[in-house]
Amino acid sequence: MNAGAGRLAMGKQGQTTFSASSGEASEKRGLSLFPPVRVATEPWQNPVRAHHLLVLVFLIAFPIFATPFLTYQIGAQSLAFGLIALSLTFLGGYGGMISLAQMTVAGIAGYMLAIFGMSGEAALSLGWSWWIAVPIAILIAVIAGTGIGWLSVRTEGIYTIMITLAIGVAFYSLCLQNYSVFNGFQGFQRVYAPTVLGINFREQTPFYYLVLACAFGGYFLVKYILRAPFGVALQGIRDNPRRMNALGFHVIAHRVAAYAVAAFIAAVGGVLLVWYNGLITPNSVGTSWVINILIIAVLGGMRHPIGPFIGAVVFVLLQTFAIDLFDRERFNLVIGSVFLAIVLFSPDGLLGLWAAWKRKFLKPRGGIK
């Protein structure tokens, strides 16, 4: 394979610099049983800035000033999609593995929730309470996602895309064909969020806060992992697997573990998405949604865990308001063209555009190492 094949073409600048330096640092100290890991950014080097608080306040206060429609359709939906896309960003941006099966993992969680929990199909659903059904659904999805990872880490780069896409489409066909477990074309209707401690999560505002909490959880989980030894090693593997292997890291194990983490995030997103839609059908895991998750992640930018959420907001806004701007039927054309434009002109997504704009118009801030 040629040198660039296994590499992630996008988001290479910026990230490689620090990982390479941390790699050199551990090299200088020589080999040891547990190679020292230099943490990239300590929490105190990354202080809470005004815009962080602003975003936090905005997100928490959003249902107060927004209409229920905006809260639910835009807010909750983009956060749920953002969460699924976040799992792809984690895998792709930091692990160097673009997996198109993340929506499939989310869909497995959704299907399992409908099968073990309650749905309109009483004959097929087991009807267990949410507090059993949700953990089981997530567990099965994580096992499936890890299995998908185990299969696809045997290959690298673009091969991963092909295999995960094949798996995703195969799962879609299975859901469509199979009536005894997946209920075929109809899927499962009326899969609703439960009422917990008197709070009915089917209502728009409580559901928004539920999704928001999960999104925060996912975001900070990824942030934390990226600073933890595992995350730093993962980024090292992304940049140079051979060197990491020589340093004593188990490359395959790290990659499969990354798939497991990503599967967990995607599974939570999948459960939320089913509750949001109130149903799951083969279409929810169809090719277009498998690809849409990639579009969301790339649109936002894979350089930072906030990227997928930005991408999801843009995507959902486009999807919702497309009807006012142009023919509703032509949404795919628009999103495809936007995606093409981003890939062609700003591979780092909207975050990359923003960074370029800052470089051009703002003076570099002092004090940043």
């Binding site: 394979m1 299969l151 696809s152 780069g157 673009i158 066909s173 009536y179 032509r330």
Partner: protein, 314 residues
């Protein structure tokens, strides 16, 4: 090593042979018709996937718009056949239309991002969405079914065991073989084929010897895309043309090249036969789980030969 190979062959061959024996004893006609269906489907898969694997082998470009080119070729063939009435003209038109679009993609986009495999793949994803939606916009969602030309219409009678079989589908078998042989001759006996093979092995050295690599790339991309369009016209008769078929054929191409080995035309043939036969037997004997067989094959191959049955370690 020798023993292990034998052991694995036995593990795979014994259940398959047992199934075949049972199926022949149970219903020989069904078994052989399914076999023929599988092989003719494999022929279509091979034609489409060989283009995919050709492009991939040379340029490391996973052209995920390959399915869209298939659909495009099929539609073009359909309308040409409707206007002119000549099936061969439709085949030619499907090939040329898809080849032109492929050429355009290579010249206008991929030339500027050589070596950035992942970005190229993303671009093909974007293109596939756009092309699929443009086709849906322009042509609509209704099913377009092309009829076979007169000299291939109707059944072929008098075959032992299965009595009759569609002439058109039967003709696909030699067609697939002819295309495979032509492709092999093109790659192994012509100058440009030699350049393509050299490019597969080492692009840098090929350029260094003074070959116009861009021309080789453009030719390969045009032929690869053209094969998708050619397959589209065949599929317009054998299957049907409807939005969604692009994804189906893309998936088939992906699995064929993953199973057979990426970048190898012979591998594409092997993969196409395995997939085509497995898919039709699955549909005939276990309809609601047929995709599971495909998936099991994929998993087995990935687990034991990650680069495909005929794939070489790159």
């Amino acid at each position: 090593m020798r023993f292990r190979q034998w052991a694995w062959t036995l593990v795979l061959a014994v259940p398959l042979a047992a199934f075949a024996a049972w199926a022949i004893w149970d219903n020989a006609k069904l078994f052989f018709i399914t076999l023929l269906n599988g092989l003719t489907l494999a022929s279509l898969y091979f034609i489409v996937a060989s283009g995919f694997t050709l492009v991939f082998g040379l340029m490391r470009n996973v052209n995920l718009a390959h399915g869209s080119l298939y659909l495009l070729g099929g539609y073009v063939g359909f309308f040409v056949a409707e206007k002119s009435g000549f099936f061969t003209l439709a085949l030619l038109a499907g090939f040329v239309a898809a080849a032109l679009i492929g050429l355009l993609m290579q010249v206008a986009v991929f030339r500027f991002m050589q070596g950035e495999d992942l970005r190229q793949t993303m671009v093909t994803i974007g293109l596939s969405i756009v092309i699929a939606d443009l086709l849906l916009w322009g042509i609509g969602a209704q099913v377009h079914q092309m009829s076979a030309p007169d000299w291939l219409a109707g059944p072929l009678r008098g075959i032992p065991l299965i009595t009759a079989y569609s002439k058109y589908r039967m003709a696909l078998l030699p067609l697939g073989i002819i295309i495979g042989v032509l492709l092999w001759l093109f790659l192994n006996r012509t100058r440009i084929g030699m350049m393509i093979r050299a490019g597969v092995d080492d692009r840098g050295m090929l350029a260094a010897t003074g070959v116009n690599v861009n021309l080789v790339f453009a030719t390969t991309f045009a032929i690869g895309a053209g094969l998708a369009g050619f397959g589209g016209v065949i599929g317009a008769v054998e299957l049907s043309m409807v939005p969604g078929e692009d994804v189906r054929l893309l998936l088939a191409s992906l699995i064929v090249v993953i199973v057979g080995g990426m970048g190898s035309v012979v591998g594409a043939a092997v993969g196409a036969i395995i997939l085509g036969v497995a898919e039709t037997y699955g549909l005939a004997y276990a309809p609601t789980y047929s995709v599971v067989f495909t998936f099991v094959i994929l998993v087995l191959v990935m687990a034991f030969r990650p680069r495909g049955i005929l794939g070489q370690a790159a």
